[in-house]
């Protein structure tokens, strides 16, 4: 059995197994209900050939990236302030924990009314999806800074501003990073919802629109694209984090290696 412990043996084996189960399902239920791997591949080729797939992936990715980046940039200072100033936290904390439970998709109609049918409403939605996760994680990070660190900085003559800059922010970076990484996931959820309801382009639109032609294979293509987009951006984020923020204690990547 020791051969099964090798990664290069087990991993392809796993994929073959998944594809086999998938193909089996296609045979049992028919290609309309479950399009098999080959049918999905053919559907993908069609979509790649007319250029829509890459274009839609690009559009969805751009929306997610812009909204996520803006949301993160807005959320980190808010999280720092809420975490650092007890008086503000007293009011902000219940509000945050109230709004946090309203999923972004529930806001789609309102955001369309407020920000229009164009890109603005989608980006606002992603920002919303990102904001609370990052704010709450950052706040938790600020509250977790060990008192001894702040005390030692203070007794070495650091001002309150220097304590924020040189002690609180560096110790909070792992929390911010976790928040930002988690937010990537919710951002994808939010954008697909928005594209299904109010868009003429994007992966969400592709999945939703395919129902009109009963092209379940295209739906599969959309789902797999989403998985790949999420997986790759997460790995990329983790890699960048590991490379640039190593000294702040960000070491783990996706797969656990011991």
């Amino acid at each position: 059995m020791s051969i099964l412990r090798r990664k290069w043996v087990t991993l392809p084996l796993l994929w073959v197994l998944i594809l086999a189960v998938w193909q089996l399902g296609a045979w049992v239920y028919g290609p309309e209900i479950i399009p098999g791997p080959l049918a999905t591949w053919n559907g993908a080729k069609e979509l790649i050939a007319d250029g829509t797939l890459l274009q839609y992936i690009g559009i969805s990715f751009c929306r997610v990236f812009v909204g996520w980046a803006l949301g993160g940039l807005l959320a980190i200072p808010i999280g720092l302030i809420v975490g650092r100033v007890a008086a503000i936290r007293l009011f902000a904390e219940p509000v945050l924990n109230f709004i946090r439970f309203i999923p972004p998709i529930a806001f789609i109609t309102l955001f369309l009314v407020w920000f229009g049918i164009g890109e603005k409403s989608k980006i606002a939605l992603i920002m919303y999806a990102t904001l609370f996760i990052v704010v709450i994680n950052t706040m938790t990070g600020v509250l977790s800074v060990e008192e001894d660190k702040i005390r030692s900085a203070r007794s070495m003559g650091a001002t309150e501003w220097q304590i924020l800059l040189y002690v609180v922010i560096p110790s909070t970076i792992p929390y911010m990073f976790t928040g930002v990484r988690l937010a990537m996931g919710t951002s994808f959820m939010a954008i697909i919802g928005a594209e299904m309801i109010a868009s003429n382009e994007g992966v969400g639109f592709l999945i939703w629109n395919s129902r009109l032609f009963f092209r379940t294979d295209w739906i599969f293509v959309g789902l797999i694209s989403l998985g790949l987009m999420g997986f790759l951006t997460d790995r990329l984020t983790a890699w960048i984090g590991r490379k640039t923020l190593h000294r702040y204690g960000i070491v783990s990547t996706g797969p656990v290696q011991r």
Binding site: K149, R151, S155, G157
Partner: protein, 269 residues
Amino acid sequence: MSTARASTTITIERLDKSYANPEKAGTGDVHYIIKNIDLVIRGGEFFILLGPSGCGKSTLLNIIAGFVAKSGGRLRLGNREIDRPGRERAVVFQQADSSLFPWLTVRENVEFGLKMRKMPKAERREISDRFIRLVGLSGHENKFPRELSGGMKQRVQLARVLANDPDILLMDEPFGALDAMTRRTMQHELSQIWRETGKTVVFVTHDIQEAILLGQRIAIMSAGPNARITDIYNVPFAYPRDPGAPEFIDLLKRVQRHFEDETEGARHS
């Protein structure tokens, strides 16, 4: 001695730390952690606060450090009332892991206070070199705290506060978490550094042997609540001290008896 020394004398008069009893809020029922502490810690001396765990010696140290507000009494450094942290009072914490900055290298940790003062880089480097050498960490400048052993981390803490050139070192059981061998080495080195630099050291411990090994005077704190200073022992032995010397063992037994009598007394009262 000189006037410089006099300005670093810590004078504590009728110092209290209390909190309102949370179970009887509004009744004016007040709990004292420490009560009516009177102490004069002279500039340049190695002063020990010795007492059982949880007696309030760390509270007293934190008040001197300015981290915790006193409830009553006076606390002066020289002629100046103190109620907040200051650069002249450096603190060495028991847990190096919680007080060192893990994202900074050994050198960056040691230079932290100097950087806060906006000292130019070259000057900072010169000072950090000196103190890293003093605590025996040369060659480890670019390591991160997580790459160091417990004893080495405490050396970083020591170098970090010394680089800041404080008058007073406040040390809260700094060797409590170390293994016996490392602890012995660190005690020896601290004693040597104190003799070389002439800083005032206020050192909290519950280890009687450590107290006699290091201190010039040992203040004994009673068990809390209402902890107070019950006695002050002078330790006239020359440094470095031998824990096997008859007079050392003699004093050790005396202090031990003191604590036994006190717990005995507490049981009967």
